[in-house]
């Protein structure tokens, strides 16, 4: 990853794929309030994705708009991190994914808001408020599940164990990017440690650090996700909706 275009595209893809996964929860949440909350967060992520992809399209200068970028690229051209494309799993896995994503997006958007690129600064200023809400919501559930029943503790610890290795990719150093992801690590670690401790959960020891999303080398899941997301758009080339 390097340069403003790649960086913006990658962040836009993170938000888009996260929104797609969260949207899958609609009508399936454990309670009605949570159905609303997950749709709400999906909507925020989608809103950020639209701003970021629109800007990426402008930076590229090839006339691609948000929909061209979302619906007409294949999985090898997507730049999202692997974390967001992982399947939803149970509610614990979804909360683990959202918690780590939000704990990363909040300092990221905050740094962007104070950065030198006016468009990214404006997007960061808007998105960081939403990320703070996502982080709060996910933290609460991580604590409720971690420190709830024996069953929920077991499931939440499983979820953290499953998802944790994918966090590594988020901090791959890129000094050329508007915000070097490596600089976000301390902030992220502090947030995560406090919440996991309170939730009576532990971080797994792991040597496995899967990555490749930023280079378009994804898990086997993304192609299925895109097949579903893009099916209608691709079936009617050039149509307006």
């Amino acid at each position: 990853m390097s340069g403003v275009f790649d960086f913006t595209l990658a962040l836009g893809d993170d938000a888009l794929i996260a929104a797609q996964r969260l949207g899958e929860w609609t009508t399936r949440a454990p309670e009605m309030e949570e159905d609303i909350a997950l749709a709400n967060i999906a909507l925020d992520q989608l809103g950020a994705a639209r701003l970021l992809l629109t800007y990426a399209g402008e930076l590229e200068g090839a006339g691609r708009d948000e929909d061209d970028l979302a619906f007409l690229r294949d999985d090898r051209e997507f730049r999202n991190c692997l974390l967001v494309e992982l399947p939803n799993g149970d509610f614990g896995v979804t909360m683990a994914k959202l918690f780590f994503l939000a704990a990363w997006q909040l300092p990221l958007y905050t740094a962007l808001a104070g950065g030198g690129d006016d468009r990214l600064a404006a997007i960061g200023a808007k998105a960081r408020k939403e990320s703070a809400y996502h982080l709060d919501h996910a933290s609460l559930w991580v604590k409720r599940l971690g420190d709830g029943t024996d069953e929920s503790h077991r499931r939440m610890q499983d979820a953290v164990d499953q998802v944790w290795p994918y966090v590594h990719e988020l901090f791959t150093s890129d000094p050329a990017a508007p915000v070097d992801p490596a600089t976000l690590r301390a902030d992220f670690d502090a947030t995560v440690a406090a919440v996991l401790d309170e939730a009576t959960l532990t971080r797994p020891e792991t040597r496995w650090t899967p990555g490749g999303g930023r280079d378009g080398v994804h898990t086997e899941q993304l192609s299925y996700l895109l097949a579903e997301m893009q099916v209608l758009h691709r079936a009617h080339p050039g149509a307006s909706w």
């Binding site: 888009l16 929104a19 797609q20 949207g23 899958e24 609609t26 009508t27 399936r28 949440a29 454990p30 309670e31 009605m32 309030e33 949570e34 159905d35 609303i36 749709a39 709400n40 999906a42 909507l43 989608l46 809103g47 994705a49 639209r50 701003l51 992809l53 948000e66 929909d67 979302a70 619906f71 149970d90 509610f91 604590k143 409720r144 599940l145 420190d147 709830g148 029943t149 069953e151 929920s152 499931r155 579903e228 997301m229 099916v231 209608l232 758009h233 009617h236 050039g238 149509a239 307006s240 909706w241």
Partner: protein, 356 residues
């Protein structure tokens, strides 16, 4: 970023009805401002007092005495309305992952989210009548309470999302606008809020169809096909014809209902004809024509035998919709239990702290 940035034409769907909602809201405020007579007098029985409040177009509020049958009718009606909002998320939710543009995806997500909100709001209104949401949800999951028959039809194409907005939400609004003046205060207030958002959704659905009907040949065919499939199920949403409607007379006397099923159905047909013309789509009814004498459209009635089959559980998606809701509820049990256990632990720790 919802993308709701199209300008509605003057005679857009929902336009006139929204005026009625606002009038009902004003009437509600006026009624509240009028000095309401204090409770029943010493020699007066509760029934006479209740009848008086209804006659004076005042609202019955949760702490008021009310006939048991009035309470039961309202619980049934409001609960079924709430269930419909919750089950109604499924047919549209079916297209969130495949929405053809990011703007449409955002609008659809926001709409389905609104529906969950309406469900919560209506359950809260029902709870003022002395039943809990958990009980009502059980009644739905056990199949002992119904939801609107319309949600047992499948959404087969993207145009169905537009047809649901235009026709299904349109029929719902025609049905619900008079309920903004219903005699039970919490229900009337819920309907005012719900109708405003529904009218917005209806316009969005109409706009989806409008775009499709003015798009490519394939898109236009998709729009017509959706109208063909959703027209009669939407007409059936108003319930059986007046002669066969079991709850109507009493509900009208109590000012829960204000118009009969057939009156509302006629109003809906009259409203849709012009809108279909603007879309350039054909309503699938060869019998549809203007009747100068009645100053209304003649139309072919929906198949009420089909309506009864769907209500009894044998529509195309009844089993699937129920199974989906039951599965979500069962899969989420461990999460709800965790939330309760966590809250209890927190409360205990607080107590210990106070004691220490």
């Amino acid at each position: 970023m919802y993308g709701n940035d199209f300008a509605p034409p003057e005679d857009a769907p929902g336009g006139g009805l929204l005026g009625e909602v606002e009038a009902a809201e004003a009437a509600l405020r006026e009624a509240a401002a009028r000095a309401r007579r204090g409770g029943p007098g010493p020699d007066e029985d509760f029934e006479a007092y209740f009848a008086d409040v209804i006659d004076a177009d005042q609202k019955i509020e949760p702490r008021d005495w009310m006939p048991e049958a009035y309470r039961k009718t309202l619980i049934r009606q409001i609960a079924q309305h709430a269930h419909s909002e919750i089950i109604g998320m499924q047919p549209e939710g079916n297209w969130i992952s495949r929405a053809p543009s990011l703007k449409r995806k955002a609008i659809l997500l926001a709409k389905v989210q609104d529906e969950a909100g309406h469900g919560l709001y209506l359950y809260a209104a029902a709870e003022t009548l002395g039943i809990s949401r958990d009980e009502l949800v059980e009644l739905l999951l056990d199949g002992r309470q119904k939801y609107s028959s319309i949600f047992n039809y499948p959404t087969l194409t993207w145009a169905d999302v537009g047809a649901i907005g235009w026709l299904v939400d349109g029929a719902a609004i025609v049905n619900q606008v008079p309920l903004c003046r219903c005699s039970y205060g919490p229900y009337a207030r819920a309907m005012i809020r719900v109708c405003k958002e529904e009218s917005f959704h209806q316009r969005q659905g109409y706009e989806i169809l409008h775009t499709l009907a003015h798009g490519t040949g394939a898109q236009k065919a998709m729009a017509q096909d959706a109208l063909d499939r959703w027209w009669y199920p939407s007409l059936a949403m108003f319930g059986p014809p007046d002669g066969d409607s079991t709850h109507s007379a009493q509900s009208m006397a109590w000012k829960i209902k204000r118009f009969s099923n057939d009156e509302l159905r006629q109003r809906f047909v009259d409203m849709c004809v012009g809108q279909a013309e603007v879309l350039g789509l054909t309503i699938p009814d060869p019998g549809l024509r203007w009747n100068d004498e009645r100053q209304a459209y003649d139309y072919t009635q929906p198949d009420y035998a089909e309506l009864m089959r769907v209500i009894k559980g044998d529509g195309p998606c009844n089993r699937e919709r129920m199974a989906h809701r039951q599965r979500a509820h069962a899969d989420g049990a461990w999460v709800r239990e965790a939330a309760v256990a966590y809250a209890a632990k927190r409360a205990d720790r607080k107590k210990e702290k106070v004691a220490a």
